[in-house]
Point group: C2
Chain length 131, copies 2
């Protein structure tokens, strides 16, 4: 019965307060924002702290401004840490937190699911190229 399946999917949602619901949505949006996942993937693959300029090099296409903004947001959400070494010139290192690493598991699942259904998405778009 499709009805029950789809509505049960979001049952957990009703247990949330409006404030919690909003926070959940906000986190979901920030996680999936333009550069968040790309930056988190670089940090995950690095398996250790990375300097600002290393991240900038490895995230292809990102601007300095966008990287700064992305790192700030990820830090606010507790997904990465920022460590400043007050030297001259200064050194700043970023690293995934446990929360950040844990998050990549369900995110990768969704990503993988989309990649697996790519023919469906490509076909849908091809059919409606005139819209």
């Amino acid at each position: 019965m499709v009805t029950k399946l789809t509505s049960e999917l979001f049952n957990f949602h009703e247990a949330l307060t409006p404030a919690d619901d909003r926070l959940t949505r906000e986190v979901l949006e920030r996680i999936t924002a333009r550069w968040s996942l790309a930056v988190m993937r670089i940090l995950a693959e690095a398996d250790g702290p990375l300097r600002f300029s290393r991240v900038l090099e490895r995230v292809q296409g990102i601007s300095q401004k966008a990287l700064t903004q992305t790192l700030r947001t990820l830090e606010r959400d507790g997904l990465i840490t920022r460590t400043l070494y007050p030297q001259v010139p200064p050194r700043v290192e970023y690293e995934l937190t446990t929360l950040g690493r844990d998050l990549l598991v369900p995110v990768a699942s969704l990503w993988r699911w989309i990649a697996g259904r790519l023919p469906d998405f490509a076909a849908a778009q091809a059919l409606r190229r005139d819209l």
Copy 2:
């Protein structure tokens, strides 16, 4: 070994062509855009076709313009269908496709995961309210 775990998460990614990689990212972004999930949830819960105005009523806070745009995008991606009944006044009905319903499964998992770790996110934000 954390290294292997995190890097394996995205192994599938390397099998994608650059074009497929881009399409995957695009779909992921559109799915998680401001109103997409809210609209899909309404359609999922309706368990049947819904008229434009019914969706507009039930998605709290959405503007008519934003709803139109969201529905168009979901249709292009093959996640919903749009059926026009050329009456006067016209009637238009929207409904989830199988692809759309399937998608809600991994999406709900991610959503649920975030909701489950909400204390972590709230704590992180509280600590850094000064940033």
